[in-house]
Assembly symmetry: none
Homo-oligomer: 222 residues x 4
């Protein structure tokens, strides 16, 4: 559930110092990671507030507490900042999701898991949610060239859950797993987007998750 998440803000501040010391290879720049993370986190916040194109690199730098030039020690350019942000987070989601799914044999449970995870990981992270649902789509180029491959992996994973359910005789035939994957993703994305752009009340996404899961499962079951 914490898959896609930044380190929890609470624990983060507590352990950030320790983390560098204990779970990083000591040869590497010991403080490089935190700085990269700091920049990414600042970028998320500013992008969400102002939009990607309206955000100046210098604003991200200021928010991260580094010099403008420092951004370019960690990211190729401004675009790379957005893409890296997306890739970092979706990588975490993919690996956790794969792991969680492996632990759940029933198709229903697996589908619920996907739904809860996609919504759960953004709950409480309005900024990240906004960046991913809104800002990431800023540029067709970014979408097509960079985000698309990772995104396709995620859709395939959902499609697999549907397909497995069909093979197991639990889900109805006659529904294309790939269309369904897109629809499921889109439904969750749509809910997240309006949540992020609106009041973003606590618990809103969890409640939505249950309802959407109920409807989709009833719709898919034989």
């Amino acid at each position: 559930m914490a898959a896609f998440c930044y380190p929890d803000p609470v624990t983060e501040s507590r352990f950030s110092g320790a983390k560098v010391a204990d779970d990083e290879s000591p040869g590497k720049a010991a403080d490089a990671r935190p700085k990269r993370e700091r920049i990414l986190r600042a970028a998320t916040k500013v992008f969400a507030r102002k939009g990607f194109y309206a955000t100046k690199v210098s604003e991200v730098a200021k928010a991260a507490g580094v010099a403008d030039g420092t951004i370019y020690l960690y990211f190729k350019n401004k675009d790379d900042l957005l893409v890296s942000l997306f890739e970092d987070r979706i990588d975490r989601l993919l690996s956790t999701l794969a792991q969680e799914l492996a632990a759940r044999p029933s198709p229903e449970a697996r589908l619920r898991c996907v739904i809860e995870m996609q919504l759960g990981l953004l709950e409480g992270q309005r900024d990240l949610a906004e960046v991913i649902t809104v800002n990431l789509r800023q540029s067709t180029k970014l979408m097509k060239q960079y985000a698309a491959p990772k995104f396709a992996l995620y859709l395939d994973l959902i499609a697999q859950v549907v397909s497995d359910g069909q093979k197991a005789g639990v889900f109805r035939e006659g529904v294309s797993p790939h269309v369904m994957a897109r629809a499921i993703f889109g439904a969750l994305d749509g809910v997240t987007m309006t949540w992020a752009l609106g009041r973003a009340d606590a618990g809103g996404l969890s409640r939505a998750a249950t309802q959407i899961a109920d409807v989709l499962l009833r719709g898919l079951l034989r």
Copy 2:
């Protein structure tokens, strides 16, 4: 179904003056509209191909066959081009949809109508689909200030269909009509987005519409 559509490309060049003259408010200059339409159409094409921010106003002008400055006789600025594009199209959708829905009493038929219409109007208009699903999200500002209100109207309309279905005892209780509206919209949007970004095969959206409608209806029915 032609709601959201451009005038048919064939008739357009021949009759554009006349056509727009009769179903539009007469206050505006007689030949201004076709030029406005030409610009809007060019914008759609270029925005879809390159993304809103990567598109220069001069490129839209060239694609529309007008001078750069002419754009500013019809639109306040570049943002206005995108917003106008969205509003023009969604206005047509809203009025047609309201009209179509009025003709269908059963909740199932009404929900199917929504789904078919949202997908149907973009079928064969890959450019427009891409602009609406991808480019419109370019700027949080645009989304929040301009698109959001119109968009909310659309979501309310869907929510109403769900809510009416519940009151009629056809759809299950326990599902928030607003959450459902967002999920339905998102599901269709997700399918459209991948369709537009991918191969965009003819008929792809219609087939998807039926499947999604089936799943959602089964999921919503008592």
Copy 3:
């Protein structure tokens, strides 16, 4: 002799208005040429004073009395400014030189013509001289990629004069025309450079021309 020159500063201000009107094709942007020339002239002045790399594009713009962006309507980038400057001038030199040489049959006269022309065209144009002898060599890239081809044409032309003189039995054999061409060009370039970097006294180059021509001719004659 005016080959390589800007229009004479005196006549220029007198006739610039007229020139546009009478000797330009009227279809073309009537005032584009003067603006390009103005920029080129401003660039020469500023480059000579501060060096190419130390000169900001905005300084050239200010000196030319145009906006920064205007520079980019006439030149691809800052490098192009330097290269264009060189090419424009050398083109004029080449065509005038070819024409003058055709009118002189004797090898001695032809060599004197080359020498007087290379030095004469820069006499009184210290800025241009400095840009060509000093600034142009600022970048190996510029030299190798752009200036070199035109420059080679010029060297070939000198080599041809030497070679023709040898065939005519006037100049000694045993001297490579190409080596000699480079040496002649270099001798003149060296004199011009120190003249431009130093006091640049009026008449200095003409006097030098005669002396150098004398030495080289005596050295080359049988």
Copy 4:
């Protein structure tokens, strides 16, 4: 002849420490000099390949196998690198040349000596030749402030040779020794430049030296 040259690349790596230790002022740190030399040599190579302005200090550092900051322990700044390079080499040339000239009484021999030395020292050192003929002119500021004084010394030395020859009644009167010095230097520089920018074939410069010396001497002799 080795005047202007780097230490021979072969012996250099083996004996660099010892060699520089004996013929240099002992005041400086014992191992600082080889590092200074390494940096200067790296700078020559990289400047020749990319041009002074296109070369980053970090590239020189990498080529020299030192850290960026180390450069600043030996040179005040990037400009100082170019100036030092020039001064180091020209100092060697000047002292060797003075010494060689002292050993030759006849004006003809002295002039041949100048020519052979200027070309000879660069033969086989294409990089250095390119830096001196092309890169050094990168900045008017560098030329005027730093290189010019040393350069003037060199020109004076050549002028002296001409002037002495005239006084001895060997060279013709009526030729300004200073103009001649600039022309001689320029002729050699021109040949070197095209050699360095072109194929730079072995022996090319020596052959050129003889031809140029022949022409100039015949031109200058009574």
